[in-house]
Each structure stands twice: as structure tokens, then as C-alpha cells.
């Protein structure tokens, strides 16, 4: 049922070598192909639209959910997934989309993921995007992620796109309640004539909520990137955005910061930087015996780690 190509895509986006332990749902070319639920984690197909509900019982600890999506033909796929992370739970969720497009048709996956991280729950969410295939068809991924973190909850997001996605528009909206915490790590590499846009909006509505967004990107060849990282503080809160881009060749990067405070005890920081690889870094590594190309690769690899 899963071909060698499917398996490789799964490995790229979900580090899956085998069928995963714990709960999972694998979606291929617009259809669910395999699923597993556990005593604490249920996965239910939505009735009104394509997609699933993932329900994690309150208090569930140390379990994982894998919900990879793979496309191996030119196809437009759209899903709505809803995650309910019960109070006090602590779970690891691996999503991600791998596209192998051998055709001349566009392969596109648009996902709307909505999360409810209930009181004192903790969620780590990893989303990897990957594309390959020799066809002329574009590989397009447009994820929308909406997260509500209730009092004392923690959401940790890792969003990674390193290879093979031609167009991407990523929208992330997060609301943080009292004492809630958000940690976002974004890694993006574009090359050829790829384009990527990332919009992240964090609303800190609860007292003592904290948010940290660290975005790092590398833009090569003729690719273009646009970042719009936005933080709003409505209460006593602390937020920090760090947006760092390495620009190379004829690429173009635009970083638009926005921080807004609606409360005198909101502390918001935005740091954005765009620049080429520092020549001092290259020289240092070359003086250890690396070639210029090896030095460049080492620096980029570390930067995107």
C-alpha cells in the first residue's frame, strides 16, 4: 500500500521509518490510508468536510500523534484538522507534508489546523514540509495554524521547510491566556525561484503569558521570502521575536516587524536582521582547513539546525 516513494516522503516529513507507535493517521493523495488510535487518543473523521478530529484525553502523558500527509501525484488537497489537547496532557504531535510530484500538474496541499491546548496542557508540534519530483508541476503548501492556549498551557511549535517546496504561504495565529507560554521555531530555506511567506500573529490576552518566536531563514538563487511576525500584548506579558535571514545570490528577503502593546506592562521585543554570511565566519572555518564551499555549508547547516 505504501510505495518506496511514500516511505521516503514519510521519513522526510515525520522521521518515520516504520509504522509509528502510538496514534497516527496517514493521508495519501487526498485519502486516509491508515490510522491507529490509543486508549487516550482518538482520531475521528470529520463528517462535514475533509479532515480529522484528534482528541487527547485530559491527563494523557508522554504519548505521540503522527499525522503525515503525502502527495505523489498532481493534485489539490485541502484538509481541516482539529486538535483537542485535554487539560494537563503532555503530547508530541508530528505533522508534515511531503510531495513527490512527477507530473506537469500542480500538487497542492492546504491544511487548516486548529488546536485547543486546554488548561495546563503541554503540546509540542513539529511540522516539516518537503518536496521532490522531476515534473514541471509546482509543489505548493499553504498551512494555516490556529492555536488557543488556555491558562498555564504550553505550545511549542517547530516549523521546518528546507527542501523542494515551490510556493508556500504559512499563516499562524496564536492566542495565549493567563500564564500560557508559546515557543515557535521556524526554519526556512528557499532556492531557485521559490517563494515563501510566513505570517505569524501572537495575541497575548492573559496576564503573565510569554511568547518567543525565533525564525531563521536562508534565501538562495532567485527565491523570495516575506516574513510578517506580529505580536500584540493585551495584558502584562512578555514577548520576543527574533527574525534572522541569510541572503545569497539574487534572492530577496523582506521582514516586516509589528509589535503592539495595549497594556503598560506588556514587554515586547522585535529583532530582525538580514545579511550575507559574515566573511569572518567563512575565514575562521577556512583557517581550520575547510574549503570555502565546506565552510559555507557548515555555517548554513548550523544556522538552520
Amino acid at each position: 500500500m505504501l510505495s518506496a516513494i511514500d516511505k521516503r516522503l514519510l521519513e522526510e516529513v515525520a522521521d518515520l521509518h516504520e509504522i509509528p507507535h502510538g496514534a497516527f493517521n496517514i493521508r495519501k493523495n487526498g485519502q486516509g490510508v491508515s490510522r491507529n488510535t490509543t486508549a487516550n487518543i482518538d482520531i475521528v473523521t470529520k463528517k462535514d468536510k475533509p479532515g480529522i478530529d484528534i482528541i487527547v484525553k485530559p491527563g494523557t502523558k508522554g504519548e505521540s500523534v503522527h499525522i503525515p500527509v503525502i502527495l505523489s501525484e498532481g493534485l489539490e488537497d485541502m484538509v481541516y484538522n482539529t486538535f483537542e489537547i485535554g487539560a494537563g496532557a503532555d503530547v508530541f504531535i508530528v505533522a508534515g507534508c511531503g510531495i513527490h510530484n512527477p507530473s506537469g500538474e500542480k500538487a497542492q496541499h492546504d491544511g487548516i489546523h486548529e488546536f485547543f491546548v486546554r488548561k495546563d496542557a503541554r503540546m509540542k508540534y513539529v511540522e516539516k514540509h518537503y518536496g521532490e519530483g522531476d515534473g514541471s508541476g509546482e509543489r505548493v503548501l499553504n498551512p494555516k495554524t490556529i492555536i488557543e492556549v488556555e491558562a498555564g498551557g504550553v505550545a511549542e511549535l517547530e516549523m521546518i521547510q528546507i527542501k523542494g517546496v515551490d510556493r508556500t504561504k504559512r499563516d499562524t495565529e496564536v492566542r495565549l491566556h493567563k500564564n500560557a507560554r508559546l515557543i515557535v521555531t521556524e526554519r526556512l530555506l528557499t532556492y531557485l525561484d521559490q517563494t515563501a511567506e510566513s505570517n505569524i500573529t501572537v495575541e497575548m490576552v492573559g496576564e503573565d503569558s510569554t511568547a518567543q518566536v525565533i525564525s531563521r531563514s536562508v534565501a538562495q538563487n532567485d527565491s523570495q521570502q516575506l516574513f510578517h511576525l506580529n505580536m500584540r500584548g493585551y495584558a502584562k506579558c512578555r514577548g520576543h521575536i527574533q527574525c534572522d535571514s541569510i541572503i545569497m545570490h539574487q534572492a530577496q528577503v523582506s521582514s516586516i516587524p509589528e509589535i503592539t502593546a495595549y497594556h503598560a506592562d506588556a514587554e515586547l521585543i522585535h529583532e530582525a536582521a538580514i545579511g550575507r554570511i559574515a566573511s569572518e565566519q567563512l575565514i575562521k572555518l577556512m583557517s581550520l582547513g575547510l574549503t570555502e564551499q565546506e565552510a559555507e555549508d557548515t555555517i548554513l547547516q548550523g544556522f538552520l539546525k
Binding site: I283, S287, L288, T291, I299, L304, K305
Partner: protein, 250 residues
């Protein structure tokens, strides 16, 4: 072992060409320790960078064990056994101390990396997995930089003001480390420094000023010169003894 013969270096500065080094003639012999000193802006770092291949000579010749390396790049010179610990080492987002030492030594041997950090007065437990990023203080960065040079098996190692930002205890350790490196690997060492205790390690002292080598002399001459300055300059007695040559006196 390493010879610089009539080396000139001219660089493209912000306001046109700058003649940074003029007619540098220098012979570094095997296993010896040299200390390079002289006023700020004299050209010490430029000599070091020219040895490493970071600055290309506009005239003259550089030989390593008799081989002409004048036109060789940084990578090639590194592979031939030349190393340079930067005066101002760069930071690397995402690169751990462990990664840097592995790149430097060509091996991920843990015991070896712990020894290297110990030699520069750092505890490996605290540092191996830290990223060499903005969270590092200037002194910490310098020590990692020194360790990355100690990690290599070199013919010539140049350390550019290694004492900057290093506390007294570690300083003692560092002088021992230089002596050991010299004895163990037969490495020829050049230390750019103004410190009296570093000067004491020297087989020869190279004084650089105005882009030229002013003199090459024994450490006794330099140390007695410092003593003379100490006794003649009243305000200097208030300064840390053996502090930077041109420390400001209040």
C-alpha cells in the same frame, strides 16, 4: 621554517589604498616561541593574517619549510599546518563548541575535547553543548578560539592577544598551555601580546610599529625597558604592573 621575505601588504580601505605592511622580513624557527608586541595599529594582526593567507601580499615572498606559499589560499595554508587564533573571533549561530572542536581537530573524541577546554580554563560539561552565539562573553569566546587552535596539530600557531578577557587564574594555566604545546607538538608559536608574563615565555620578541618590524630582540631587553618605564613614569606605578604598554594613566 617560516620565512617572510620583503613582504608588502596593501589593502583597499574605506578611503582608498592603505599600505598596511612594509618590507617585512621575518624568520620563524622550528619549536621556538615568539612574542610580537608594539603599539596598537602597528601591524601585528596584519602580519598574522598575512601568514594565514587572509591578507595577500602585494610584494615579497612567504616560504614554509622552503616551499613558496605566497600564492596559496587560507584553506591550503591551514592544511599545511598554519593556524591563527583571531583577535576578535566571530560568533556562530547554531554551532556548538563541540562542533567547532570537531571541525578543528578532525575528530569528535570526547576526552580530547574535555582536555582542550580544561587547557583554556573552561569546564567541558558547561560548554561542549553550548552554541557559540551572542550568549558568550568576550572572554569565553577567546578561550574557545584558543582551544580551536590547540586542537590542531600545527607547524606554526599564531595567537592574537590571547589574554584579552581572561582572568588571572586562567592566565597562569594559559602560559603553561603554550609551553606544553610548544614542547609536545614541536609547534612554533607566535603570541601577539603586551603582557609581561607572556613576554617571559619568548625566545625572541618581535617589535612591530608603523607597518614595519622595528626590532627583533631578546626578552631581557624588553623586560628591562618595561622596568625602566615603570620606575620613570610616576603615574605608571599606579597602573597594573606590566599592564598594556600604553595603558591610560589617570
Amino acid at each position: 621554517m617560516l620565512n617572510m621575505i620583503n613582504v608588502d601588504v596593501t589593502l583597499e580601505g574605506d578611503e582608498g589604498q592603505v599600505e598596511v605592511l612594509k618590507e617585512i622580513n621575518l624568520t620563524l624557527e622550528e619549536k621556538k616561541i615568539y612574542v610580537m608586541t608594539g603599539p596598537n595599529g602597528g601591524g601585528k594582526s596584519s602580519i598574522a593574517k598575512t601568514i594565514m593567507g587572509i591578507y595577500q601580499p602585494s610584494g615579497g615572498q612567504i616560504l614554509l619549510d622552503g616551499m613558496d606559499i605566497t600564492n596559496k589560499g587560507i584553506t591550503e595554508r591551514a592544511r599545511l599546518g598554519i593556524g591563527y587564533a583571531f583577535q576578535m573571533p566571530p560568533r556562530f549561530k547554531g554551532m556548538k563548541v563541540r562542533d567547532m572542536l570537531t571541525l578543528a581537530s578532525g575528530s569528535a573524541n570526547l576526552a580530547n575535547q574535555c582536555d582542550l577546554l580544561y587547557d583554556v580554563g573552561l569546564c567541558s560539561q558547561d560548554y561542549l553543548d553550548r552554541e557559540i552565539n551572542a550568549s558568550f562573553s568576550g572572554g569565553e569566546l577567546k578561550r574557545i578560539e584558543i582551544a580551536s587552535i590547540l586542537a590542531r596539530n600545527l607547524k606554526v600557531a599564531v595567537f592574537d592577544e590571547p589574554e584579552a578577557g581572561i582572568d588571572l587564574w586562567s592566565f597562569q594555566k594559559l602560559t603553561e598551555t603554550f609551553e606544553n604545546l610548544n614542547a609536545k607538538h614541536n609547534t612554533t608559536i607566535v603570541i601577539i601580546s603586551h603582557q609581561e608574563r607572556i613576554l617571559r615565555l619568548a625566545d625572541q620578541v618581535i617589535v612591530v610599529a608603523n607597518g614595519m618590524i622595528d626590532e627583533i630582540t631578546g626578552k631581557e631587553e624588553i623586560l628591562s625597558e618595561i622596568e625602566r618605564l615603570d620606575s620613570e613614569c610616576r603615574c605608571r606605578q599606579d597602573c597594573i604592573k606590566g599592564g598594556p604598554e600604553n595603558a591610560e594613566c589617570n
